[in-house]
């Protein structure tokens, strides 16, 4: 009601540019964060419930130790670590969509930047949480700071993830400032507490030319900085494995292999989020079929790239069949891990490539489905990177209880992992409730430019 009267008023007051103003007002109204509807509350409720179950499982783990997991001396890392690698991989997308496209002067990606940044922040937060969950003595976490040993790749990872988290926050924050100015204009939309919060974080942004210049420069510097740092987080994470001697990990290919995989899963996560937000917030005008078409092409490229690295990673060892790697490779191709392995290869790479090669496959719904396939396939791929190697050591697994020879996650591990996945979704949901999922000011600017 009130909105409509304001609109009328604007129409009356600004006669010469009234058409443009109405269009602008429409865009803002479309893109302002919306209150949760019924489904929004149900969605949040489900996520919170999963998180609570995960927290209860973690309480049990704290109390009884990692004995509640199925990890044992041989499979000493399990789905916590594969989940960690998965989150680190997904968070890489923030740099891909935002930084790479921005620097390349690609404009169509503007509506996707904030989705990517929000996913990156949420994933990197939970990457650090899950790594603490994996620790046997989490109460000693601060030892990493006071006794940190720079020779250890874990310390490199700690440094680089902290840095990436910080950059991601900055990269989320800087482009938000103009939007916050708009949000502050719509007090009644925000509600009291949110309005106060907006005022706290962004009331100083007046949109002056000087401020704009400073902000633009900063965003450019951030985009340049985030690319090497993003490459580092995933390369260093791959080094956690590649700096050991184990069959399957002892590879010089690992850094590039991980980064290729990360770009793929990150892009997959973005198309999934795009589709969901498009439906939930009715953003069909802003996230168009053309976006899906273009993201579909990017996905094909990334899936092909990742497939290429997979061929590299598996074909050459298979060709040689070194004795130390024989059991490991056979386990993957035809043994215990074969179903998961072929699932990850087919569903995570081959099928997406085939679907996306067709024009019809690049429509929103097929792309969304492919995105889900890519993300799920990628999760299992991370599991395959961690566990089979550990279960194929150089010396025989011997003189240990029988259950040490196998690994299947316990309910606590599943609950914590699911809890962390729900946590990522929850952080994304909350951030998009607070902030506009599509940058408003940038959309307006582009509207202006196209109008001219």
């Amino acid at each position: 009601m009130e909105n409509s009267t304001i609109k009328e008023k604007i129409v009356k007051d600004m006669l010469p540019t009234d058409a443009a103003a109405i269009r602008e007002e429409k865009i803002i109204q479309d893109l302002l964060p919306q209150r949760f509807g019924k489904w929004g509350y149900i969605w949040v409720g489900i996520l919170v419930a999963i998180c609570l179950v995960g927290m209860f499982a973690y309480y049990r783990q704290l109390r009884y130790g990692l004995a509640v997991t199925s990890m044992r001396d041989y499979a000493s890392w399990g789905i916590y670590i594969s989940n960690f690698v998965f989150f680190v991989a997904i968070s890489l997308v923030g740099s891909l969509i935002t930084a790479v496209f921005r620097l390349a002067g690609v404009h169509w990606s503007t509506p996707l930047t904030r989705i990517a940044e929000v996913i990156a922040v949420a994933a990197i937060i939970f990457a650090s949480i899950i790594i603490i969950v994996d620790m046997g003595s989490p109460e000693r976490f601060y030892f990493l700071v006071i006794y940190g040993r720079v020779q250890s790749p874990i310390i490199w990872d700690v440094i680089v993830i902290t840095t990436y988290f910080f950059i991601s926050i900055l990269l989320l924050y800087y482009p938000l400032l103009p939007d916050i100015k708009i949000l502050l204009r719509y007090k009644e939309n925000a509600g009291k507490r949110l309005y106060k919060f907006y005022g706290f974080i962004g009331s100083f942004w007046k949109g002056t030319h000087k401020q704009y210049l400073l902000s633009k420069k900063a965003i450019n510097v951030l985009c340049i900085t985030i690319i090497p740092v993003a490459f580092s987080i995933h390369t260093v994470t791959s080094w956690l494995f590649a700096t050991t001697y184990r069959p399957g990990w002892d590879s010089t290919n690992f850094g590039a292999y991980f980064i290729a995989g990360a770009f793929l899963v990150g892009a997959g996560a973005v198309v999934v989020a795009m589709y969901v937000f498009r439906k939930a917030d009715h953003l069909e005008k802003y996230i168009t079929e053309d976006h899906f078409e273009k993201m579909g092409r990017i996905l094909v490229l990334l899936a092909l790239l990742y497939l290429y690295f997979n061929v590299n990673e598996f074909l050459t060892p298979y060709f040689k069949m070194k004795e130390s790697e024989r059991a490991y490779l056979n386990g993957l191709f035809t043994g215990d891990f074969a179903p998961v392995f072929w699932f990850a290869i087919l569903v995570g790479m081959i099928f997406p490539i085939i679907i996306l090669l067709f024009k019809k496959g690049r429509k929103p719904l097929p792309v969304f489905i492919v995105g889900i396939m890519v993300v799920v396939g990628a999760w299992f791929k991370r599991y395959l990177i961690v566990t089979p190697t550990l279960l194929h050591p150089f010396l025989p697994m011997h003189d240990v209880p029988a259950n040490y020879h196998h690994y299947f996650p316990s309910w606590e591990e599943w609950a914590i992992t699911m809890g962390s996945l729900a946590g990522v979704c929850l952080v994304i949901t909350v951030l998009t409730r607070i902030f506009p999922i599509i940058p408003i000011q940038e959309t307006l600017n582009e509207q202006h430019e196209t109008a001219k």
Partner: protein, 292 residues
């Protein structure tokens, strides 16, 4: 410890142990203790005694600690009291010969050491004894790298050579003694001598190449355990070198390789200085906003 094991096994098999039948019959539920005494003398100087106490449980010997044992020289009386000892968790205890038994010591060239345990709640009384004759061992290292041990026994007042005693000639090492050649033991001839060729050339010694040669009699029925040492410059000069303090990937945090420090710090400093700059940039934007 090699000698220790040998002593232990040897003494048990020799059986100087006599079960105390009276005590056994009085309190059947009490355990039986074996008390063994052995006699040691190093470099022909101060002798000492070692007591070892164990018990047999299900066919296995188990050492018993916390057992008080009284030691006497020759006979159980005030003037011949050597000392009270209490065994440790390995069932062992030891004592030197105090000056108070000087008079008794002078009476004979052969002595019997008595060890008595009066019994407690768990174990009945037990006794052990050991008789040794006074002997001494000498070591000589020849210029042709032969090592000779001479064993003498005190007969009346003269030291007379003993034939047929098994002697070990060895080089002192950390946990045990390395025989000077492939022969494990040598036997003394009629002159009381046993010699062997030193074939451990260039074995690491100390920084001057000194090694300690030992000649020893182990667990001899008549003489106990005798040992004598001699330091000779027959070893290779050895100064341990280690890379413990070098910077390496497997050293501690304060010994990280320089290249890794340079790379890590330069990357971290450059990236974080950019980030700090960006935060200051934000503050500038904020200040500009306040001015408007």
């Amino acid at each position: 410890m090699k000698p220790l094991n040998k002593i232990c096994i040897g003494l048990l098999s020799i059986i100087l142990i006599f079960p105390y039948f009276e005590a056994f019959s009085q309190a059947a539920e009490k355990g039986d203790l074996n008390v063994a005494v052995s006699y040691f003398i190093t470099n022909n100087k101060v002798p000492y005694l070692q007591v070892k106490v164990n018990t047999k449980v299900k066919g296995k010997f188990i050492n018993v600690g916390d057992i008080p044992v009284k030691l006497f020289l020759d006979k159980d009386s005030t003037g011949t009291f050597i000392g009270n000892v209490t065994t440790n968790e390995k069932g062992e205890a030891s004592a030197y010969i105090p000056t108070s038994v000087k008079a008794e010591w002078a009476t004979s060239i052969k002595h019997t050491f008595l060890a008595t345990f009066d019994g407690n709640k768990k174990y009945g009384p037990a006794k052990g004894d050991l008789t040794v004759a006074r002997a001494k061992i000498l070591i000589d290292a020849g210029s042709d790298k032969t090592v000779t041990a001479s064993v003498f026994e005190l007969k009346d007042t003269t030291w007379t050579p003993v034939k047929g005693v098994e002697v070990i000639l060895a080089v002192r090492r950390m946990d045990s003694d390395l025989p000077i050649n492939e022969t494990p033991t040598f036997t003394t001839d009629s002159t009381g001598k046993a010699s062997g060729d030193f074939k451990r050339d260039s074995i690491p010694g100390d920084s001057k190449g000194n090694i300690t040669l030992v000649a020893k009699i182990v667990d001899n029925d008549q003489y106990g355990n005798l040992l004598i040492e001699k330091t000779m410059p027959w070893g290779a000069k050895f100064v341990p070198v280690n890379n413990f303090n070098e910077r390496s990937l497997f050293a501690t945090r304060n010994k990280a390789p320089v290249w890794i420090l340079i790379i890590a710090y330069s990357i971290a400093i450059s990236v974080w200085s950019v980030l700090i700059m960006l935060v200051f940039n934000l503050l500038r934007i904020r200040k500009l906003g306040r001015e408007v």
